[in-house]
Symmetry: C2
Subunit: 307 residues, 2 copies
């Protein structure tokens, strides 16, 4: 089954302690698509300017990303320039040019409107709500957001979450949205306002998935070389939704596997600049890393304390 994603398609310029890359493909929609398309057909909706090197998206198209919803309009593409210091934990934004993205108004092509799985990547929550008006009862709708929208568009986010099944956000954003420092309480606060599922991403510290009273946790894979953290969160979401779309299974056991597949995709994303690593990996690579995740956390309970 296919997954529809609405998000940004950008040009990133990134500096890390290990190198730099100029005007490489980036954006939440792009990273999501690169990860998800390994597992399921992806329909991408976004906008780029007439300066965008569309040929750089060719590897995504070859992987099965349908770009019928990617508008190209007159003007400049969304560009982001950032730098990571040695800790690689948070990007320092040096420049942001929204360009044509500032007037983005997502138009979902008719053939995309029945997508069973929908991911509303991090864009203005009013646009995310607008997308929901255009699609027909998906099996699962997920959204992401960021601090900027939580600050400036809080009422819209509260409206949005009434209509989504899953929200992914990072720990800082969860705290900002809910005013609860404790993440268990923050997740409950959100679940009381709509989403049945809440995924709180903690970057290098892994991710929690909350559902009712259940919690699942997947660590981030302890890589020896993190090359460029850009796009890890969107790649996580792409792996998660791609796996859900591939299997069509929303059972607890499968949602847990989807979180691990998401973590695996996030761990690949950071091994190279841009979507470079994501487009070169195979399903077998993901499978192997999922197995490594199992070894990372596996323990047997036998040898019990109480005998």
């Amino acid at each position: 089954m296919s997954v529809l994603v609405v998000g940004s398609v950008a040009l990133d310029s990134v500096e890390t302690p290990f190198g730099k890359a100029d005007n490489v493909v980036g954006g939440s929609g792009t990273f999501f698509s690169a990860a998800a398309s390994l597992l399921a057909p992806v329909q991408l909706v976004g906008v780029v300017g007439d300066d965008y090197p569309l040929e750089q998206l060719e590897p995504l198209r070859q992987r099965g990303v349908d770009m019928a919803g990617l508008e190209q309009v007159a003007g400049e593409s969304f560009r982001w320039r950032g730098r990571y210091r040695h800790d690689l934990n948070s990007a320092e934004t040096l420049e942001t040019h929204l360009g044509v993205f500032s007037h983005f108004s997502p138009k979902i092509p008719p053939q995309f409107r029945t997508a069973p799985f929908v991911f509303l990547a991090n864009i203005d929550p009013r646009l995310q709500l607008d997308v929901l008006q255009q699609v027909e009862r998906p099996k699962l709708v997920a959204c992401d957001t960021m601090n900027f929208w939580i600050e400036s568009r809080r009422p819209d986010i509260l409206e949005l979450i009434k209509h989504v099944d899953l929200i992914t956000l990072n720990d800082g954003e969860a705290r900002q949205l809910t005013d609860c420092y404790n993440l268990v309480k923050a997740a409950r606060w959100i679940m009381e306002r709509g989403p049945k599922l809440v995924i709180i991403k903690k970057g290098e510290h892994g991710a929690f998935m909350f559902r009712d009273r259940h919690v699942f946790f997947a660590p981030a894979y302890p890589l020896e070389d993190v090359f460029d953290p850009t796009g890890a969160g969107d790649s996580f979401a792409g792996g998660f939704m791609g796996y859900i779309a591939q299997t069509g299974d929303l059972s607890d056991a499968n949602l847990r596997r989807a979180v691990v597949v998401g973590s695996a995709m996030g761990s690949f994303a950071v091994e190279k600049f841009s979507v470079q690593r994501l487009v070169e990996i195979s399903k077998q690579d993901v499978e192997s890393r999922v197995a490594e995740f199992r070894r990372l956390v596996a323990f047997e309970q036998e040898g019990a304390l109480v005998s």
Copy 2:
């Protein structure tokens, strides 16, 4: 089998957003003993002043902590006063009075010298080395340390780690000691200098255990109410070493279980002030929490990506 611990026995005064406690039992040796003694006989070596309310250690004695090595000398006991803000992540130290602890010179009673398991809690590395001169070939020696010693006694720490099997330290300390930001590299740096096992504690973000090329990770239990984080790391170590002493088993599978038991003990420690929660829990409580840890991270790999 028994476990010997050499560490501080202090009086803590703690303020958290949820309440305050004055002059309650604290210190690395105390928290370690409270956790470990649920699982194995503990021999505690430390020092207190003549002002110490020894009756407050009675619950530990009843749990099987042998205090033949706890000296009481003229002078004031080690006192620490700290405060946690809402994030509960790092203590703000308001006052530290070392008192009699500043002249501490551990004397291991003859009947303790054959303890098969030894934990050198966070004290001056010269004293930790001195303890090793006094004991007879334990099966496993573990040590802890802190930023203060890494800064002021680096050559002694490097000498110490040549002689221990396991070091536990937090992520910041691992980075400070090794000058590697990446924790996988930091662990390798340490293992190349002595310890076969390295446990890097990340507080609310869980703990890694490194051994050769193997990594195991246990999350911190996602508690809804963290009451007072003081002593969580020493309780972790107590749970780990207590479990190892109870089972006498140093296999990989058992070391993994020991990390989870340690995490469980850390999660109990923070539920109340001082060692209060640790002395009231049963083995069955720990067993149940270990089962919750399993549910927290468990996923089945079936439903494979590659079919």
